[in-house]
């Protein structure tokens, strides 16, 4: 098998990246999770149950949609959108939470905790927990509770408890810290349903595998609809789960270029963006070794993004590996480019993308413009933008005021 399919190894390493840098207290639970996942992977009834849920509960396969008007506006390559926004709960996150909920049941744990940034993973976790009768606690930074209010209501309606996190930057990174601390004390009865391809082994592998349904479907749909594979695939990268699920099934397809888009924020100055693969260096954060934004002492730096789901100083270890071996290229889109792309897609196609996904749209517009109409660009449209409508209205208003004054 080619080298890229054999990762991670048994210690959770993707090349040099990944591993397990967590307190000893969590080691046993991580070993148990890895063992349970290994058993489940070889169990046909597990896969059958998950497939049934994905089809009848989530509504998969999600369509691969040819964005004709958007493509025409760009005047270049044909742009296709993989519509993860049409999934139940409105984003790709549900692919992972249903898989992990089945694992939680198998392990006999009655309680689930999760972190959330944009609230999409929180909603997907609360949904899976309601569906399987699990107790659910979601940690969310106070800043994100403010800017993603609609998702906070949904989580509560689904029966989850939302615990505000007021430490540090009051965003995703702090929510992960708080969830890990909860897990330290409750590890015997609680599963930590992590929301992206980050954290200690085996999480980056498990979440990638559950999200890989995106890429597998896309590959099949490209062959059916285009008669071949696309020239380029684009996805946004926060922790990196939608990108990793989209890219992984294409890794051996050398002719397919892949681009991960990080949050470029206000500028490329430290503190103004959340783009560790573009501007950071390898270090340890939240249990794994990967690209991260740190100062010279190893302290995590503050980051910024207009999008709560990408506002994170670290990234999944497999992305660091793909960057290192040159298989995927990583770039970033600024807040302004993202708001413009949001607007363009809304007006051209009648689709409101999540601000996270709008990062991928912004890059796809650039890429398509430089290519010819016989080429295709596939975008992972990871989620829908209803949750962002209010925050965008607020930002647009304050920008207008800035321009006028």
């Amino acid at each position: 098998m080619p080298a890229t399919s054999r990762v991670p190894d048994n210690s959770g390493r993707f090349g040099p990246f990944g591993g397990r840098f967590v307190p000893e207290t969590l080691t046993r639970a991580l070993d148990e999770l890895a063992a349970e996942y290994d058993k489940a992977s070889g169990d046909e009834s597990f896969q059958a149950e998950l497939d049934d849920l994905l089809r009848n509960y989530v509504g998969r396969p999600s369509p691969l949609y040819f964005a004709e008007r958007l493509s025409r506006q760009c005047g270049g390559a044909r742009i296709y959108l993989k519509r993860e926004d049409l999934n139940h709960t409105g984003a790709h996150k549900i692919n992972n939470t249903l898989g992990q909920a089945l694992l939680t049941k198998r392990m006999g744990k009655p309680r689930v905790i999760a972190e959330t940034g944009a609230g999409q993973h929180g909603v997907a976790t609360a949904t899976a927990c309601a569906r399987f009768g699990l107790k659910c606690v979601v940690y969310m930074g106070e800043e994100d509770i403010r800017r993603q209010a609609p998702n906070v209501f949904s989580m509560k309606l689904l029966g989850a408890e939302v615990r505000p996190v007021s430490s540090g930057s009051r965003t995703l990174r702090d929510a992960i810290n708080e969830a890990m601390r909860d897990w330290m004390s409750t590890v015997e009865t609680t599963h930590y349903m992590i929301g992206s391809v980050v954290g200690p082994h085996p999480f980056p592998m498990i979440v990638r595998d559950f999200q890989a349904v995106i890429g597998r479907e896309t590959r099949r749909q490209c062959i059916d609809q285009l008669g071949r594979l696309p020239e380029v695939i684009v996805a946004c990268v926060g922790g990196g789960s939608n990108a990793s699920g989209m890219f992984y099934p294409f890794i051996e397809d050398g002719g397919v270029a892949m681009v991960g888009v990080e949050a470029g924020g206000r500028s490329d100055k430290m503190g103004d963006h959340a783009a560790p693969l573009c501007f950071g260096r390898p270090g340890v954060l939240h249990g794994s070794y990967s690209f991260v934004m740190q100062d010279e002492d190893g302290q995590t730096c503050d980051v910024h993004s207009v999008s709560a789901g990408l506002d994170y100083p670290g990234t999944g270890p497999e992305h660091s590996f793909w960057k290192q071996i040159g298989r995927v290229s990583y770039t970033n889109a600024t807040d302004d480019e993202v708001l413009a792309a949001f607007d363009t897609l809304a007006k051209a196609e009648g689709i409101l993308p999540a601000l996270e996904s709008a990062h991928a749209v912004a890059e796809a517009i650039k890429l398509a413009t430089d290519r010819t109409p016989d080429e295709s660009v596939v975008v992972c449209l990871s989620g829908r933008g209803d949750k962002d409508a209010q925050e965008i209205a607020r930002l647009t208003e304050s920008r207008k005021l800035r321009v006028e004054s």
């Binding site: 840098f21 967590v22 000893e24 046993r28 330290m184």
Partner: protein, 248 residues
């Protein structure tokens, strides 16, 4: 064995606190290197790390303070430090820097046995202790492995959880530590949650040292609102009280 956070409220006071703790009879001192994302720590130590980092305390400043303090100190100092910090500094460089500052060893709470080989090798070569942790969730065959790899002492974590004062500690500690004792010749120290004389009375007979963190960090934090002499005196009295309970 008291734990204090480096640089809260400032490094001069940290040095004074350590001196006071040693003068009052502590046999070793554990110095916490502030870290931005400490997942094994409860609110008291987290908040002290945040305050220290807000004051822009750097690792170099901490080593400099220790370099001045340790030559005149009657007890060894070990650092509690996240692997994020050790890695960024460079493994060799961290160990040599700490050693040059008179530090005797390191506790790296987010570096489990599987990941510790490289650092352990350097520590062995430099004769610098790498103190590893055993917890209530550690299976026994794994605990044996950790005991083989540890140098200095074994840190037995009393609870499955984060740091912070507890009213009661789990009863199984005594049995677990007694079992661990039969697997190793190394000293065993117990930490997490310990704050009261009655804890000390129960645990002193089975251990070689007890680590008290949040209860001291909380008292040090009062230095922002109280005269420093008073705070030093109170911390000294508190630790002397615990040490007296140890003798009972």
């Amino acid at each position: 064995m008291p734990f204090v956070t480096a640089g809260d409220p400032d490094l001069d006071f940290t040095a004074e606190v350590i001196r006071q703790l040693v003068d009052r009879g502590s046999s070793m001192c554990e110095l916490g290197i502030p870290y931005s994302d400490p997942i094994a720590d409860g609110p008291v130590i987290q908040a002290s790390y945040t305050r220290a980092l807000d004051k822009k305390i750097k690792l170099a400043d901490i080593f400099q303070m220790l370099g001045r303090l340790t030559p005149t100190l009657a007890a060894p100092v070990v650092t509690m430090v996240s692997y994020a910090i050790v890695y960024r500094r460079g493994l060799e460089e961290y160990v040599s820097g700490a050693k040059a500052a008179g530090v005797a060893g390191a506790i790296v709470p987010d570096l489990p046995a599987e990941e510790s080989a490289a650092l352990a090798e350097i520590c062995r070569r430099e004769d610098f202790s790498l103190i590893q942790l055993v917890t209530p969730t550690t299976p026994r065959d794994r605990a044996r492995l950790i005991a083989e790899r540890t140098t200095g002492f074994i840190y037995y974590v009393s609870v499955a959880g984060i740091t912070g004062e507890r009213n009661e500690l789990p009863r199984e500690i005594v049995d677990n530590v007694a079992w661990l004792r039969r697997q190793t010749d190394l000293p065993i120290c117990i930490g997490f949650g310990i704050s009261r004389p009655e804890h000390v009375r129960t645990l002193a007979p089975v251990s070689d040292g007890l680590i008290v963190g949040s209860a001291i960090v909380r008292r040090v934090a009062e230095a922002s609102t109280k005269p420093r002499d008073e705070v030093l005196e109170e911390i000294g009295d508190y630790v002397a009280g615990l040490l007296a309970a140890m003798e009972e």
